[in-house]
């Protein structure tokens, strides 16, 4: 964004001149006036200011246009003729304004008559030292493919201001109210697209939009999208945002927009089929996912094949791996925010898609003016496909996830920039798997069920001064159930939770150029849990075990309830300094944590306790968040941030039998510095170095005889540090892509006296390079290459025979002292778009691991632990799919 400074050029027309002109001598028309008659000239009662032509701004010159205005007997302007021309632009602006004038009609002897008057319209350029309180918006619109300017594109702001690009594709809108404003581009030659810009008072925002030009009758249709090239005022110091249209084309995602997150810098490659989100070395549960401000418990369905929100509902997804502002909290790791796609203004739209894994559909309807409805659904059938092509009982051998999800949205337009939305999201996952064995002690059964629902309302208003108010109350239900039976050792964990939340957020101009963001972010989770089985199953981070090892045979049981209430109030100010080159963004989040459990002692052990005694813990967290962004040159910026974060214990950790009911919150600090280089208008490189430290992490008690209800301690500390790089080519011509690389190390100490050990999710190198190229005629091809260091594992150095259970038990070496070998895979995506009337279609083939690289995913041992091998991922995974949209 170009800095203009305090010396502002004020472009204006002069009402005084107009009034003067309105009083100019008139010549009566169509009548022979008698000198004895009483003649009254017309009097201007409604004056309309002419817009200073944008195309004339750059000249810095004013102009004078003389008009002849014909006024009828009612005082209405019926015709305007230029009799003293300046330029075409000035003439047009003057005529347009004059046509909106309203007069008190001229009279003769009290009788209204039509007249013509001469009117001189003066456009002046005035320099003033007064600080301008509004922003100017200038830029250019180009053909995305050819980079040629496009004329006659309408550029409209949410404020109602609009203009049309000139022959050079240039436009300018002056006096834009500061704040976030929606920008809509439309015209005969381009598809209607929109984006959002942030305007600052006294500043000029200069952008270049590359848009897709309509091709009449061509089957080579593009998704509507807008690509913006400008140094942007980013909300977060480090974040990566991907628009839906782009994310859908990334190889390996099978068109699932949210799966693109796996390819972003700072994100570790998930373990095979886990779909776990590991960001900057934080545990998966430390990174939170929000959909338009609503917290959802997961991003992906089981197996990681699909996200929980279909692409048709997604506008964009943003990953903020750390150092984020005070608007979010409760997690020690990063956040993923998903923006839902605005519903269509008119018509009946939708899509139907299917591939080998699942099928989905959605419908979007504008049921009446200002009322929009969208519903969507998706269901998997991978189990049916595999049963048909392999054997009917394949599910007994290969775990196959079954899932569905539903979405419903109802949006009311209360006013042009004021909406209320009511919606619901639901997701369900099931896995059932039984592996029988001649020895019943080796028979295994596994059943998992994971469901969540969210019901929400969302009120949002954009005001003319650039403020945005959003209020999102929501509630929902989360339930998880894990039932594993390893021989006679059961594992039964269920958690039924009710979640309630409220997010109220205001951001807009505060004082002068300072922008603010204040809000309330409240969340309550009421959980009812049951757990039976071994304390070692499911395993925790830091446990030493081998893949597939049976859990310890000691069992216990517990039923308990927890209530975790957090009430985050936050405030942030974006203070521009040094001619807007430095943005100092201090913020704070104050968040009381209330953790309540209904039981502090187990009632199954020999405690003599039969009546549950609860416990409530209240901790206040004051979390400073500070970020700095300094624009060294228009193309080089440096940045830094610090933030403190807290996270409540997980409800399952608050068991009196399996955990510790009195756990406090954990704490983390994020430190990061980085730089951004805009190499070209579409190519940028970002580098961020980060350090995350954490304390009071929950770990297993190392004591052989811990106190009752203290199976977990909070003595763990952690640190993650590294650097991430992102070289990103925005779509230029037919190509887009990026290269991301993260080098990092994540370590833990389970107690202060121990040495640092590698965190279970540590990955030293994570490299992703991807690109997509439009071949024309609807054909598109994409490539993705990934390389990632394997996760740490504790090596087995020996074994011994357990005569009671007739099993060999491992003897472990250095904790996490070995790694799974690295992963490398090349994926290819090919697609063809086509059009049948109003219907657009796309067929795609997504080939994962085309080189059939046998990537080790886990280390396994033979029965006696004398041999070791690797479980490898599938050699090649082809996914053929098709989607129709209208």
């Amino acid at each position: 964004m170009r800095v203009i400074g305090a010396l502002i050029v004020l472009l204006a027309t002069s009402p005084a001149l107009a009034q003067q002109a309105a009083s100019a001598p008139l010549s009566a028309v169509g009548t022979n006036a008698s000198p004895t008659r009483a003649i009254a000239p017309p009097r201007l009662v409604t004056f309309v200011r002419a817009e200073f032509p944008p195309s004339e701004i750059a000249s810095g010159q004013g102009a004078k246009v003389v008009l002849q205005i014909a006024i009828d007997a009612s005082g209405q302007v019926v015709d305007v003729t230029v009799i003293g021309s300046a330029t075409r632009a000035f003439d047009a602006a003057a005529v347009a304004a004059a046509k909106k004038f309203v007069f008190e009609p001229a009279t003769i002897d009290g009788k209204s008559i039509p007249v013509k008057i001469t009117y001189r319209y003066q456009f002046t350029v005035t320099e003033t030292l007064v600080k301008k309180q509004t922003a100017d918006f200038v830029g250019a619109i180009r053909n995305r493919s050819s980079r040629e300017p496009i004329a006659n594109v309408r550029v409209a702001l949410d404020t109602g201001q609009e203009t049309v690009t000139d022959a050079n594709g240039r436009f300018a809108i002056v006096d834009v109210q500061p704040g976030e404003q929606g920008v809509t581009l439309s015209g005969e030659s381009v598809a209607t697209v929109g984006t959002t810009e942030t305007f600052e008072s006294g500043k000029r925002l200069d952008v270049t939009y590359d848009v897709v030009r309509k091709k009449e009758g061509s089957g080579d249709e593009e998704e509507d999208e807008i690509l913006v090239y400008a140094m942007r005022l980013k909300k977060q110091v480090v974040s990566t945002e991907v628009q839906a249209a782009q994310a859908q084309k990334v190889p390996g995602t099978q068109g699932d927009v949210l799966k693109v997150v796996e390819n972003l810098p700072g994100v570790a490659r998930a373990a095979v089929g886990s779909g776990a989100l590991v960001v900057w070395g934080a545990a998966p549960q430390d990174t939170r996912v929000y959909i338009d401000g609503i917290h959802v418990p997961r991003l992906y369905h089981d197996g990681g094949y699909r996200s929980i929100l279909p692409s048709a509902f997604v506008k964009s997804v943003e990953l903020i791996p750390g150092g984020y502002g005070p608007g979010y909290g409760r997690g020690l790791g990063g956040i993923v925010t998903i923006s839902m796609r605005p519903l269509d203004d008119e018509g009946f739209h939708g899509s139907v898609g299917a591939d080998l894994i699942d099928a989905s559909t959605d419908v979007r309807v504008n049921v009446s003016p200002g009322v929009h409805v969208a519903v969507g659904a998706r269901k998997s059938y991978l189990d049916t496909v595999l049963s048909a092509v392999t054997s009917a009982d394949v599910g007994n051998y290969v775990p196959i996830p079954r899932y569905w999800d539903l979405q419903a949205r109802l949006v009311f337009d209360l006013a042009p920039h004021e909406t209320v939305e009511i919606g619901a999201l639901a997701s369900s996952d099931r896995i059932a798997h039984t592996l029988t064995n001649p020895d019943p002690s080796l028979t295994t059964r596994q059943t998992t069920a994971t469901d969540f629902q969210r019901f929400y309302a969302r009120y949002e208003k954009h005001t003319v001064n650039g403020s945005v108010v959003a209020v999102v109350p929501w509630f929902g239900f989360d339930s998880t159930s894990l039932v594993n039976v390893f021989g006679t050792t059961p594992t039964d964990v269920t958690d039924d939770a009710t979640a309630i939340g409220l997010r109220a957020d205001w951001h807009g101009p505060l004082v002068g150029a300072i922008r603010g963001n204040v809000g309330l972010d409240a969340e309550a989770v009421l959980s009812q849990l049951h757990r039976a089985g071994s304390i070692g199953a499911p395993p925790r981070e830091g446990d030493e075990f081998t893949f597939g090892e049976p859990p310890p045979s000691q069992v216990d049981t517990d039923d308990w309830k927890t209530t975790i209430v957090t009430l985050g109030a936050f405030a942030e100010a974006d203070i521009p300094l040094i001619d807007d080159r430095l943005h100092f963004v201090p913020g704070v989040r104050f968040e009381p944590f209330l953790v309540d459990t209904n039981k502090t002692r187990p009632d199954t052990a020999q405690t003599g306790i039969t009546t549950a005694i609860g416990h409530a813990r209240h901790d206040d967290a004051l979390e400073p968040r500070i970020s700095l962004r300094f624009e060294v040159t228009p193309k080089i910026a440096v940045k830094a941030a610090f933030g403190e974060y807290h996270q409540a214990p997980q409800p399952e950790e608050l068991s009196a039998a399996f955990g510790t009911p009195v756990l406090a919150r954990s704490t983390a600090q994020h430190y990061l510095v980085g730089s951004a280089f805009q190499l070209t208008d579409s190519l940028a490189v970002e580098t961020t170095a980060f350090l995350s430290t954490s304390q009071q992490l929950v770990v297993r008690s190392e004591s052989p005889s811990p106190y009752i209800a203290q199976a977990l301690d909070q003595t763990g500390i952690g640190r993650s540090y590294g650097t991430q790089f992102l070289l990103r080519q925005q779509p230029v011509g037919r190509f887009f892509g990026w290269v991301s690389y993260t080098i990092m190390r994540s370590e833990r100490k389970d107690s202060p006296g121990q040495d640092w050990r590698l965190f279970d999710y540590d990955q030293t190198h994570v490299f992703t390079a991807l690109g997509s190229y439009d071949l024309g005629s609807g054909f598109e091809v994409g490539l993705r290459f990934r390389y990632a260091t394997g996760y740490p594992r504790t090596p087995v150095s020996g074994s011994y025979f357990d005569a009671r259970t007739n099993s060999y038990e491992p003897v472990f070496g250095v904790h996490n002292g070995a790694r799974i070998p690295p992963f490398a895979a090349l994926d290819i995506r090919g697609s063809k778009r086509f059009r049948w009337g109003r219907v657009q279609g796309e067929c795609y083939l997504d080939l994962q691991n085309v080189t059939s690289n046998q990537n080790p995913e886990e280390i396994v041992y033979n029965t006696t632990y004398t041999q070791r091998g690797y479980i490898t991922g599938m050699p090649i995974l082809p996914v053929l799919g098709m989607r129709l949209t209208w």
Partner: protein
Amino acid sequence: MVTCSPARFGYVWAALAAATAPACKPNLADSVSIVTTARVLAVRSENDAGEAEFAAGESFDMTALNIDAFGAVSPSPLKWAFCNDPKPLAELGPVSPQCLDFAGNWFTPLGVGNQVEASMPETACQLFGPEAVSPQQRPVDPDPTGGYYQPVQLLAPGSGAPMVTIDEARIVCTLASPSEDVRAQFKMEYVRNRNPAIASMGVIDAGTWASASDENAPQNRVAVGQRVVLEVAWPECDPPAAPDGGAGPAEYVPCDGAEHYLLFDTASQALVDQREAIAVAWYATGGVFDVDRSGRAGVELVTSSDNGWKAPSVAGPVTMWVVLRDERGGAGWQEYDIDVR
């Protein structure tokens, strides 16, 4: 070698289920049923009353099925010791890692040989059971049968460091229930476990085999390369007799098979009747078994289990051991000499 077909058995696929993804598992040498090196195959603990669980201070014998590389009972002296180090809560193995050490003051030596006499330590229920030293300490969790176990270390001389085998002797402790009535009922009705015993063993439809201890029995013969289906059976055990008139205690009958036993169900906080599962481990000095292990779950009323065995392709004597293990830590075995010709 990697295969994308499901493994025959094992926990690995169950773990893959947790990972929820198709994947390929390597083929590793998983069979342990053919004895080629000196090994301890099983350990049996028993007192004079034939019981296989013991209260603190009670004496009992421990016997190891200790085989040398040639299939004979190994003359190598096993060094026995109680390991009195409780395992940390974070330890997911069956015993404390300290129990794998070769010396330490947490060991109570028991003697040397394939059989030793021991006395259950007085601290067993405190260190490894529900009777924590301090009422503030977390009691040890029982296994799914309600049992607690005293670790026992067996050291066998190896070519380098001694080879470690761990056994666990079942302890009789006070029931971990907050209800005095339940504790009293349990004390009255619970019958200690007995080691399972083999009732018969042989080739299906071809008669039973004589055990090696029966010197007068005819030779067990199998043709070279012949595949036979072996069946091992154990005694049928009666369910507990109903209380007399519904008022007296249930009568659990000691038995050498899949016994019924009284279990304190921690979920319902009540005493329930359970039936043991029986696991069978098959060992031989030659040939190939279909599976290393077989057995019956507690809910299966069948009192036998079978397994295929293909005799070696070379004539000669083969020694086979069939080991029964019940869920409550009991073990019993028989040895069979087979003439493969």
